[in-house]
Symmetry: C2
Subunit: 234 residues, 2 copies
DNA sequence: TCGGGACATATGGTCAGACCATACTGTGGT
DNA sequence: ACCACAGTATGGTCTGACCATATGTCCCGA
């Protein structure tokens, strides 16, 4: 008889499932602590190493953070940091050529355009302030490195205008993936005036609530910044 | 002096970095094998458990797959499966209320609209065939479960029209996240005629190359399918 | 009473070694 | 040529030990 080659559940997978079940049933939320590794191992009848592998997975996915020592902050604490996980994922898959920079850049364009088109109600004074501050710092930037830093802040705030945390986290990861290339591109380019003009145009459109103009401005900017598959900028 | 609390690099993080370096420098690609856990531990001067934690992380991120036994397929093999990682990430963060179904649904709308707007050149005969096949199977579906299965195939193929693997993988994950709710919603709804009409309208627009009509059809469909933050459908 | 230092303790991080489960590989007999 | 079986490489798991880190606790001296 040809049975399906049923892959027995590994111990650490069971641990993950149990922790997930506890989160759902006990209503655990961000900030709550999980039992210690030794205690968890005893409760679930597995070795501590299996618990640790489970924790590593959950940490990778940005759901728990572990700290040694004693006190309220020690141990495994539930968190909500999906951006790091997404950044790791993109970095590794781009390194493997499983994803191309073109695809990354395209996704970024999609998110930023969507964000400005759905900014109504999310363009708070605080966010507009941050956009202006980023613009000012970009102008005063003394190096490509510094310029890209504030450029990242600008585009990240644009993504926040979507009012969608998944998109914001993804934007974080996309930016991190492109970061190194962006610095090199700005250094190669030398002059940042065209980029600054793009940024100001985007800001004005957002501030005045002109969604389509903002989307067009973003398209122009990113097209300029990613002129070819090899040289992405910010 | 107030130094930054420098977190010493953990052994398994070093292992990950070394593997990543090898991928980049030795030009490893999907399908290549990594050394065995024992060998890797010896080479990098760490314990096998640290190697295993590193492998767990890489497996979670969808870049390696491990198989026991012997032969060419055994050991840790480089893969390119980002969708599973994204699905795990979404499931856990939704469970933690770190992401809402509204945000997930909204992201899905964004991707599908972008996909049909950029379908030019990617709407291959094969993909159109798959869309038609999914439509036919949805019509003949005998259960909500079966209907949702083919509905997923339909929308996944729509995402493929973007010609962007990152968006396709993300769509996989979004669908998986919504799956359970979708089945319940279809069962509650009983009749699937309106959903089928939506699907046909989407297909016709895509097949005739009318991007804006396709985008509008998707907006209508997903608005109908996700009528409120609690009850998403497909 | 208050401060500070020494010790206790809880928690994660790492290692070594053992054993099991799995699945190919090679060998030898038929 | 085929097939059965032993060999072996590989991941999966457990145990126990020890280190590193950070907080709690307690006692002593000023």
């Amino acid at each position: 008889m040809g049975w399906e080659p049923v892959r027995r559940t590994r111990a650490f997978e069971d641990v993950i499932a149990q922790i997930e079940r506890r989160i759902a049933e006990d209503g655990l939320t961000v900030g709550d602590r999980l039992p210690g590794e030794r205690q968890l191992a005893e409760q679930l009848r597995v070795g501590r190493s299996s618990v640790r592998e489970a924790m590593r997975v959950l940490e990778t996915l940005g759901v728990v953070a572990s700290h040694a020592g004693r006190g309220p902050d020690a141990g495994a604490v539930l968190t909500a940091r999906p951006a790091g996980a997404l950044a790791d994922l993109l970095r590794l898959h781009v390194g493997l050529s499983s994803l191309s920079m073109r695809e990354v850049a395209e996704t970024r364009m999609m998110i930023e355009q969507w964000a400005v088109r759905h900014a109504a109600g999310h363009a708070t004074p605080d966010r507009l302030d941050r956009l202006r501050a980023a613009l000012a710092r970009m102008e005063r930037a003394g190096s490509a490195d510094e310029f890209v830093l504030h450029d990242a802040e600008f585009h990240l705030t644009i993504a926040e205008l979507s009012g969608n945390r998944l998109l914001t986290a993804t934007m974080h990861a996309l930016r991190a993936t492109v970061q190194r290339h962006a610095v090199e591109a700005v250094e190669r380019l030398g002059v940042t005036d065209p980029l600054m003009a793009d940024h100001r145009r985007i800001y004005e459109a957002v501030a005045s609530g002109d969604s389509e103009e903002a989307a067009a401005a973003i398209a122009d900017h990113l097209t300029r910044a990613y002129p070819d598959p090899q040289g992405p900028t910010g």
